[in-house]
């Protein structure tokens, strides 16, 4: 008999979300919904009428882990709309910034997922804050990778969190020769650490794949071989940076995208009738509580060819490198595999960077209302911003953020998982729920949903 269990809130990811799960007698998820319950901040609506310089700085504040993708995608959407070509050294600085952000984000995600994993060959789960070896050295290595990455972001981008250097038409400043050398030195140090960290994580993940079960709150929970499998396919626009409608051959197709309501993809009202007070730490939602993912979800559901898709490191590797594994552990593996290339990219860009090159387009058009889009391959996947700019002001603005794409896809991937490890499936997407929740319903039809929500 189907029962409903709910984990709210979920932990060890960015933002606020919950899992409403229909499970069978064995506690295996039959149909799961993972939804954002982060309050909507409505960035897209409040952007309207503001200047094209200001909106990217606001969009940056969507998220403090991946502010760089939002800044860059937003700026480049404006540049695509107004038809502004940026100088080469701007592009190089932006790629350096971008790659460094991916590094710090992946390293941070290591901290978040490691407590689900075991020290290989033992029955001891990994506490990244433990003073014991080898965990202490792992933590120190992660901290150093993040410190290096954040420093490179600060130097190339002006600020590690909410970069100040990028602007419509280029950057405010090029870097000094000393700063270029500093970034190269840091990247060379980081490259060694990133290789070590990647090897360590791969060993930990492979060990997990070979385990038959994991321990959750003292109970042995079986790990299915196909944990996190789904048939939604993947979407990616580049292995590293991204694409925009200014490109000769854009890697994303505006016509294949359609924004839909949670209504079309989520469950209706259910009543929680399964509760586990021992679920660490604090138990699950009380029996008798009503939940209604259709109404409660604060995210929209962007679709590509009419279906939700998976975005992120696995999507990039599957699209561009013929990576064939899928499911939870494959996602983890793909994420670790991106480590070294970020540093190689930084070093290559630094080689090509001319520190006396110009970093601002000679001419910045003010726009005629044409639609332009830019996709940035954020740490968590494709971040597409779409804008129409006229006379320097934003007429229309849309953000399709990685975790927004992933929310419904991951929901489908929950099927077949014991509910106690549903959160492990979620974490493999490296969710950034604040990122996913920035929009407000737009068209006539959707406004009804918003009204219903407001009546609560």
């Amino acid at each position: 008999m189907t029962k409903v269990v709910e984990i709210s809130p979920t932990t060890r990811h960015e933002g606020h979300s919950k899992l409403t799960l229909k499970v069978n007698d064995q506690g295996i998820v039959e149909r799961g919904d993972w939804l954002s319950i982060t309050p909507v901040r409505g960035i897209e609506k409040l952007a309207i009428g503001k200047t094209m310089e200001q909106v990217p700085k606001i969009a940056s504040r969507v998220c403090g882990i991946c502010p760089i993708p939002h800044t860059l995608a937003s700026i480049e959407a404006m540049e695509a709309s107004i038809g502004c070509e940026i100088p080469t050294d701007v592009k190089l600085l932006r790629v350096i910034l971008h790659a460094a952000n991916r590094l710090h984000s992946h390293a941070l995600h290591n901290i978040l997922i490691l407590p689900d994993f075991y020290i290989p060959g033992t029955e001891t789960k990994i506490n990244p804050f433990s003073k014991e070896q080898p965990l202490r050295s792992v933590a120190v290595r992660i901290f150093r990778i993040r410190e290096i990455a954040q420093t490179i972001i600060a130097v190339a981008g002006g600020e590690a969190i909410h970069p100040s250097n990028p602007r419509v038409g280029g950057m405010y400043r090029n870097v000094s020769p000393r700063a270029k050398q500093k970034m190269a030195d840091l990247a060379k140090e980081g490259l060694v650490l990133a290789h070590e960290q990647m090897e360590f994580m791969l060993e930990v993940i492979r060990n997990m794949q070979n385990r038959g079960f994991t321990d959750v709150a003292g109970k042995e929970i079986p790990i299915p071989r196909n944990l996190g499998y789904h048939n939604q396919g993947v979407m990616a626009t580049a292995p590293m940076y991204g694409s925009s409608s200014l490109d000769e051959k854009p890697m994303w197709d505006f016509a294949r995208w359609k924004d839909t309501r949670p209504w079309d993809w989520y469950m209706g009202e259910v009543t929680i009738d399964l509760e586990d007070p021992s679920y660490p730490i604090g138990g699950t939602t009380k029996v008798g509580t009503k939940a209604n993912p259709r109404m409660e979800a604060c995210n929209t559901v962007p679709t590509y060819d009419g279906q939700p898709v998976e975005v992120g490191p696995r999507a990039r590797l599957a699209t561009f490198k013929n990576f064939t594994e899928k499911g939870t552990f494959a996602q983890h593996i793909a994420r670790q595999l991106e480590y070294p290339n970020c540093f190689y990219t930084i070093l290559k860009c630094l080689d090509n960077l001319d520190t006396s090159g110009k970093v601002l387009a000679d001419h910045i058009p003010q726009g005629d209302g044409s639609m332009g889009w830019a996709a940035n391959e954020a740490p968590r996947g494709t971040d597409v911003h779409i804008a129409r700019v006229k006379d320097g002001r934003v007429l229309w603005y849309e953000m399709l953020v990685p975790t927004t794409w992933n929310l419904p896809t991951c929901s489908r991937a929950l099927t077949g998982a014991p509910w106690q490890i549903a959160e492990m499936v979620v974490r493999a997407y490296d969710p950034c729920v604040a990122c996913a929740t920035h929009m407000i319903v737009t068209d006539e039809e959707n406004r009804i949903v918003a009204k219903k929500l407001l009546q609560w």
């Binding site: 600060a154 130097v155 250097n165 270029k180 050398q181």
Partner: protein, 291 residues
């Protein structure tokens, strides 16, 4: 360690001048700030320093991050109008890629540095990257328009022919390239003073690692306060390296007594201004940043 209510905390006070002829040639006084920063750069104590360089208009300073001896020397001489030094303090740690930042400035700018170190508000990385701070004595400052009025109207000189400006002995003195000297009584310049200067309670850059100024020492020499451990370390090494001629401040005229007297005039006068702000309106006050 001396702790003086008017001169701040310091370990030693000396009268000094640089032994570097090239620096002395264009120095306002003893060339202390320039020599110290060049020395710190060459010794790797700093890898760049915020100085007041040449701006777009004659005698209008523009702060910039100097990373070579040549660039530091471009910032010599006092410019008696505002140079927003601290506007580069964060950027120095960003696109300039500095790890050890030097800062020069007047008293209030040194206060800003120390505040950013202790209360960094959107000043990430700044606290740990300030390596060496040299403060100048400052009685008050002017806006560019004011300095234009004083030089072009009161002393009747063209700004582009001015070689040096000085305030001393109750006069605003202007020296031209062709050797002319013109003065205006300080009394006449008072109305041009920047209003924000009248609440300042710091004369000899109390918060600098080292502070330096002309008052108290003979022409061509500077009065130097060595204040912090950082300052002491750099000063003693620089003296050992033969970069400065020094005299005990007690042996020079007019000496510390005049410094003290002027510090008293500034601080006591400005304390009174602050006091008046408390009763500026009827049953209301103007803000007091020291409250």
């Amino acid at each position: 360690m001396v702790s003086d209510p008017y001169l701040g905390k310091y370990t030693t006070c000396i009268s000094a001048r640089s032994t570097d002829r090239e620096i002395l040639k264009k120095a306002q006084d003893g060339g202390i700030a320039t020599t110290l920063m060049v020395y710190a750069l060459e010794e790797g104590i700093i890898d760049g320093v915020i100085v007041a360089g040449e701006g777009d208009l004659p005698w209008k300073p523009r702060p910039f991050v100097a990373m070579s001896r040549k660039d530091i020397l471009k910032a010599q001489k006092a410019k008696y109008n505002i140079s927003p030094q601290i506007s580069w303090i964060k950027e120095a740690t960003r696109s300039f890629g500095l790890d050890k930042v030097g800062v020069t400035g007047v008293c209030c700018q040194i206060q800003a540095v120390r505040k950013a170190q202790l209360y960094p508000i959107n000043m990430r990385d700044v606290p740990g990257k300030i390596a060496f701070v040299v403060g100048l004595f400052c009685m008050e400052n002017f806006l560019y328009d004011s300095i234009q009025a004083i030089v072009e109207d009161h002393t009747n000189q063209s700004l582009s022919s001015v070689k040096k400006m000085r305030i001393g002995k109750g006069k605003f003195q202007v020296y031209t390239e062709r050797g002319n000297v013109a003065t205006a009584p300080l009394q006449a310049t008072h109305k041009y003073g920047q209003p924000g200067c009248y609440v300042c309670l710091d004369y000899v850059s109390n918060l600098g690692d080292i502070s330096t100024g002309s008052v108290g020492s003979p022409d061509g020499w500077s009065t130097v306060f060595v204040r912090t451990r950082v300052g002491n370390d750099i000063w003693s090494k620089a003296v050992d390296a033969g970069l400065f001629e020094t005299k005990p401040i007690e042996e020079v005229k007019p000496g510390l007594e005049l410094v003290m007297k002027l510090a008293k005039i500034k601080l006591d006068g400005n304390r009174k201004t602050l006091e008046e702000r408390r009763n500026f309106g009827v049953n209301k006050a103007l803000r007091d940043p020291y409250a």
